[in-house]
Symmetry: C2
Subunit: 578 residues, 2 copies
Amino acid sequence: MASDSVTPAAPDWRARCKAKKQQQQEAIPRAWLIETPPDDVLNVLDVPYKCGLLTPREIEITDTTDVGALLSKLASGQWSSVEVTTAFYKRAIIAQQLTNCLTEIFVERALQRAQEVDDHLKVTGKVMGPLHGLPISLKDQFKIKGLETTMGYASWIGKYADSDSVLTQILYECGAVPFVRTNVCQTLNWGETFNHVFGRTTNPWNRYLTCGGSSGGEGALVAMKGSPLGIGTDIGGSVRIPSAFCGLYTLRPSYERLPYAGAVNSQEGQESISSVPGPMTNAVSGVKLFMKAVLDSKPWNKDPLAVRKEWSDKEYALSEHGGGGQLSFAIMWDNGLLKPHPPLWRAMRMCKAALEDAGHKVIDWQPYQMLEIFRNAESIYAADGGHDFHVVCEESGEPVIQTMSPDTNKHDLALDEPLVQTVLGPEKKMLTAWELWQLHKEKRSLRKAQLDHWQATANQTGTGRPVDAIISPAAPYVAPPHGLNNDYFYTTFCNAMDYATSVVPVTFVDEELDRPVPPHEFYNHHDEANYKLYDPKLFHGAPVGLQLIGRTLEEEAVIAMTEILDNALGKYRAAARE
Amino acid sequence: MASDSVTPAAPDWRARCKAKKQQQQEAIPRAWLIETPPDDVLNVLDVPYKCGLLTPREIEITDTTDVGALLSKLASGQWSSVEVTTAFYKRAIIAQQLTNCLTEIFVERALQRAQEVDDHLKVTGKVMGPLHGLPISLKDQFKIKGLETTMGYASWIGKYADSDSVLTQILYECGAVPFVRTNVCQTLNWGETFNHVFGRTTNPWNRYLTCGGSSGGEGALVAMKGSPLGIGTDIGGSVRIPSAFCGLYTLRPSYERLPYAGAVNSQEGQESISSVPGPMTNAVSGVKLFMKAVLDSKPWNKDPLAVRKEWSDKEYALSEHGGGGQLSFAIMWDNGLLKPHPPLWRAMRMCKAALEDAGHKVIDWQPYQMLEIFRNAESIYAADGGHDFHVVCEESGEPVIQTMSPDTNKHDLALDEPLVQTVLGPEKKMLTAWELWQLHKEKRSLRKAQLDHWQATANQTGTGRPVDAIISPAAPYVAPPHGLNNDYFYTTFCNAMDYATSVVPVTFVDEELDRPVPPHEFYNHHDEANYKLYDPKLFHGAPVGLQLIGRTLEEEAVIAMTEILDNALGKYRAAARE
């Protein structure tokens, strides 16, 4: 099968990748090249302030993490879109030089668009739409007419889009300025970010650690404040893992709440557990503004799969949750398959204390049928035996990547056997359509049992309602060293159940506070390997994010509850500092 | 493979079916047996009035086709649920004796339930819910705790449900009285109604003709006014075909708008084109009341797949259709694959005239990519090569039914080769999961192209909006003789596109008005066979129903537009009589 399918005209895949990378490098304005710190400088978040490329005003603009504040300055004309886009573009290029987070760079085109938006405001006195003038970064799946979309595949180099994806189109209609595209992992099926075309993206909090993936380019870029709002996608955790690892807010909406039409994807047509777009940002306001803008645009008139369900202010006001006065949360301290590391437990204790201080109820979540759900979901992801990935790679002869590790011997803590990578590696036997239907049957009954399990919490909460949301780790660890992010089930659980789920940054690893704990009775050998992975010095300073898990198609309520948790944490942290 | 899988304890499948049928017969109260007319009496709709079983009050009750009127008499206590249920039960048993439309008969249990509802009203002074006291018939898929659900399979005889399906549960909570279950075709994959357990259901308008299927038991029962509201399911036309053939109103809601959890099904786990429940009734008010009642019960709290989308009065007020003042409709006179028979054309001309008289716009619908959609949908239905049906049949040794014809030589107009029955017959090769994904990719792009095609009508309608709904045949013929309903694409088109679609009864075949037309240039040999099938004498008096096709998840608007069409037709018919 291997390289026979490569057409004679196709150059060697390595040469193609090299040329593309060269072309990317040349797209960077010379004046924006900075003197980069050596590789052993791990935390690079301060470089934008010190490298001299950004003016104080550009620092002020890009440090404005509240998207609402940015939008109101853009709408009033206080800041033009050209200057805001320029500022973020420069900072994005700094991020690129430090973390290798970008794919497509198109400065001139983005600034032309920003000028168009500015002109519109000048001529009409009105904003172009609810995202007027806002630069937005896009994961390397959302097509922009006239640009390549490689998605990290050598064989897709040179594929120029003849139309915008529906989401891109809506962003344009909303007045936004798509200004850069961001890196992914090959196949999109890893929780890290590495491919043969653009290479590896690192975590700006600590470049020895992964930024997560597959929307890891967005994770690194937004953490560097090189973009106020990035759009990733999530089929097993791909917006939540990088957000948790990079200290960001995100939302994984339910299947088809947001339009995916016209975007490229892996395993396209796999509709059992659908990939979904989701925003990644430095303040929760960005999540809400993006969701409302896209839903107000009636995406179902452009994408036939998009759910016809308007943004609901009523649901955002927590109409289904007693109006939000007193909520009840359940904490999933441990999913029973891999016990989270100490910093995650401390973060969950902080949430419990903060929410209780704010008058809410907090109980323990009892995990239920987790292994069954895990096996069902993994079998679905692997239903084609990896055929899709192999087909795309064989077009160029590029191999399917088998590990995210930069050097398999570098980390002596490597998990002995990957828990989840059932679809990567050599191509395996495909399921038949009928076998896939049996997995769907099983998934339906697992979802029904999980729903009933959730509903049954009504008699434990004291609010008269079932638990309003679950708080859970997004991974059993914070960002691990490259090649070691091998467990995705804390996030995949939500994809399998189709739960609207956010990520909230809670704290940072503190080697003093987060001491190792004595070994527990290990659930399995992965759990044991995970226990051994914990090293407070290694992880010190890494962001700790948690998931807030709501119900299917409950995006508005999840955003509202995320705000409530975020406010409660803010007060709690302020009180702790006093 | 054949009968090896039958356990030694299992009796011969014929004996099992015979015993079950005997048991069904014995469930009929002796006093409710009537003297039935001979088989050559074709139209049996007048039998309830003449057979002497129903009292004048029972006739008055069961002739109340407006479900709203029934509900208000039940709510006021003017009619008790016991007497309403008794009246409909008696008429259902009459229907059974004439058309063989029932499966499970459980008079005592239903009357106990009715008594419970009556007692509730007496004690509390309040109705139990929005469907207080209303007898409702269910297709033989919706489980009722303690009763068998055979779905026409010999191997499922003796399967007693240990819980209600979610929809049954919701109907109970709404105060309804599930009182009878209705016949289906084996596999549910035919547009007629015949299985080895219960036999064939006939059309009460003309027993020589099929009642349609697979919800054909409901079709015959509701047409006989043996039930005020029946619940069927639809994966390719199964509520719309029997409704069109039996002169009823129905709605095929979008995927997962209504809860399906806990119901038995064919090809369970096939989620590419999902089966959906839908109401069948004699007046459109029943459709609305049922949909609103079920959605107001928040089915997403019981069925994890049910879309979290409340009943919307705003959408029912046609907020997306200019408020409903002036609408625009497009008529699909012909889908380009099979040309409808003359009565369908007359019915469409009536709609056009009636709507124009009412001030609406009517244009022609241009069919687009119909053959591609047909092929994609049929390939999806056949993805398991029929394995599901064979597995269930092999449990008892019962053969998979290969034709609905009572006698293959009886009708010399038989279509030479079935157009759609690709999954029935001998088991065929299954697709792989990856091949199924390729069909999903294709389906997504067909849906996107169709959406864009629909949106593009905005510049033809004169309303500033795209066409508000399409009016189309539900089949290229009215109810044909048994065994001859072989084309489902007029309905399947809507399942494939996931269009919310109703059926409206328009008129009746009139051998004087609906003269044969000269042959057209045939699209294919099925089209030719279909042309030759038309015989005004054979079809004289049969109901002619049409589809009103709206967008995905637009159930409220489709109901509102169905009412508008129905009112317009009422006025048009009244004017024609003057």
